[in-house]
Symmetry: C2
Subunit: 420 residues, 2 copies
């Protein structure tokens, strides 16, 4: 039985196995024990690899330990696990039909909803992975003008396909042949990269803010965002906003809407369906023909249950003013952490939007202090990340934040002790 | 109300809209009205674009018309829609947790099951799209030896990413720089392409049989399959079997197992989770290190509900001898069609494995006879495809095949009338 009193295996199957046993089995059946960003090897000691259950803003590991969660499944969970409205919508659609010979009517409903809600959007299409969405955006931009070069910010993550993956293992030089790099928030470097691309500039790919792994986040300088827009207007290149990570947490009309800058294309995934697998591309009218000219598809891209989940998710985010609630909870957490750090005499940096918190320690280049902090918070039942931005959800309530702050106060004590 | 007596919208929402109205709305909200292989534009007149419901081997379009289905959602539906065992397993896992901060224990269970069941497999990893799986295979093959060239059969479909998509719109020459082509079942052309690749040969990518769009299917010549294996053994290249379309319909241990040829890597998707979005890569021991060295990931790749669905799907296919049942039903259909064609004096070609039927008409280069045949079958309540291979499922029973044959007899009459 888990700490919640529910059985570890709600299906009444075999008794739950420990995280350690599961890891040992995974090490044989799966290369490296797990792929990609969910490998627990990079996390501080004590972090679990396997999870047995989730509900609201709480998660349970395979050993039945309960945590208050601040990763939200690396972004997708925006309303909390098992949001009743989202699950009811997905269940109803699933009972009717999910993956069929063509889409369900909900495809149109969702495309219209996205097109209405997202300020720059005149059309929408869907896929499964964030990488699908960024890849479609780049392909559409290239199709529009027959140009090839794409500017990307150095260190930014835009997916795991050969053309964009952060690792070059198994990737050819040709896969990256038409990427050129600029520094985020640096207009001069942007113009320099654009000059290198010359007449061959197809697109500028940019995140709503700088949320690179392991370094301080940077909000977009409004002047930078406007310079990207002007560059694209001047050259005819497409401004592609990669909303995969930040989308629907900053502004439901688009993360750069508060800056008054509208992209030509935007890639969405993660939070748009509260954990159901879905991605989307929104685009401006001038790219509609190009978008209809490319070939992009997948066996499950018309899956209707995830689309019904997305309709419910977007409507609920609107109805409850989810962005404001996440921001308020993020600020409550941020203020609390700032006060605790001061009280403990520990220098920290909290960067980026409050609803996507990043916490790094001063004088901690190897993130050892961060690791000690997070390991102690974990022992106190709070799941944080020491090098990746975290995520708030609408399910986080003031009492959850306050409970988290009790844990982080002890975690700061552990850091203080470590520093002697 | 649909013909089944169930409401068109089981969620009690707005009244159902017609296919035509939905298409008009989609034409505004979605580029071209829909992307990829599910656009109904390429189908004969009368085919619906939107589906409201599915159950077993039956589907209902947005206008409530019921069809006996032979596309199985383009492959994923292998046990029939709403298989109770699969849905119960997926529901139980979903109630526990689906997309979480890491995988659920079912990841290990499924990886072990795939590794046991698939003869060549020493390990397994998971993704969402078939394209993810073929891309991971190619990346692993390149990572293993630092070589770059990949041989693919001319006209074969291996996914929709820039490196493999059948359309070159929005794709750069560099995306395809390291592809070399051979003719399926042609050992000389294979050796020629390999010679072109020389020391840079990373992989041979091959489908279990030739299932290209619009042309007769070809089973793999055993001598060809063995030649691919020998070539890879001789050169150290990886033999990648693209099981995305055929996987779990020909042989649960791998589609080339009856030929005695085992690949080094195989890409799976579509049928492995009976319609739940999932893909997998299986691999041989010698590629384990390479597979753990690459970076490939996605936000939903650890989604546990689809994995629970896959465990239930694979177990049930085994328990009911699903492959034999699909083959028997495919042969019943094939024999019936052959007899009808003879009786009507119409020349047809039925190619490929019976459980993935392809029906083409003689002297029909534009598939006009095929279109007339399928349009009439559709009017008779049977959903076929005139240019793409179709799919049987375990839900197809003898009485369904016999009912389909009643429709196709009339469809042959329509073709005979058309030919005068």
């Amino acid at each position: 039985m888990s700490r919640s009193g529910l059985p570890d295996r709600p299906d009444g199957g075999a008794p739950a196995e420990s995280d350690l046993t599961l890891r040992a089995r995974a090490a044989r059946a799966i290369p490296g024990g797990l792929w990609g960003h969910m490998r627990a090897q990079g996390l501080p000691p004590g972090y679990p690899q396997f999870f047995s259950r989730a509900d609201g803003c709480k998660i349970w590991d395979a050993d039945g330990r309960e945590y208050l969660d601040f990763m939200c499944s690396w972004g997708p969970i925006v309303l909390g696990h098992h949001d009743p409205d989202v699950e009811a919508a997905a269940d109803a659609q699933r009972r009717a039909g999910d993956v069929m010979n063509g889409p369900a009517p909900v495809l149109v409903e969702l495309a219209e909803l996205m097109t209405r809600q997202v300020a720059h959007a005149d059309w929408t299409m869907f896929a499964k992975n964030g990488t699908d969405a960024t890849t479609v955006c780049v392909t559409v931009a290239r199709a529009a003008g027959g140009r090839r070069k794409v500017l990307v910010a150095r260190g930014a993550y835009h997916g795991a396909a050969p053309w964009c993956t952060p690792s070059l293992v198994g990737v050819t030089a040709e896969d990256r042949a038409h990427l050129l790099h600029y520094r985020y928030n640096d207009v001069a470097s942007l113009e320099e990269a654009a000059a290198q691309a010359g007449e061959d500039l197809a697109a500028v790919l940019v995140s709503p803010f700088r949320h690179d792994y392991g370094v301080d986040q940077e909000l977009a300088d409004p002047g930078f965002a406007q310079a990207v827009r002007r560059l694209c207007d001047r050259t005819g290149a497409a401004l592609i906003l990669d909303e995969v990570r930040a989308g629907m947490r900053l502004d439901l009309a688009g993360s750069w809407e508060p800056l008054g800058v509208r992209p030509d294309l935007a890639a969405w995934s993660k939070a748009i369906a509260n954990g159901h697998a879905l991605a989307a591309v929104t685009g401006a009218e001038r790219l509609r023909e190009a978008a209809s000219s490319i070939y992009a598809t997948g066996s499950f891209w018309c899956g209707a249950a995830s689309m019904a989940a997305a309709v419910a998710t977007l409507r609920k985010l609107q109805a409850v003013d989810g962005v404001a609630r996440m921001r308020a909870m993020g600020e409550r957490l941020r203020d609390g952490l700032a006060g605790q750090a001061r009280a403990h005499g520990i220098g920290i940096r909290q960067t980026g939007p409050a609803q996507m918190p990043m916490l790094l320690f001063d004088d901690d280049p190897q993130a050892e202090l961060g690791a000690a902090f997070c390991a102690e918070a974990l022992r106190q039942g709070v799941y944080l990340h020491h090098r990746h931005n975290m995520f708030l959800s609408v399910a986080h309530r003031p009492e959850d934040i306050d409970r988290a702050l009790e844990a982080t106060d002890r975690a700061f004590s552990a850091v203080a002790a470590l520093r002697g």
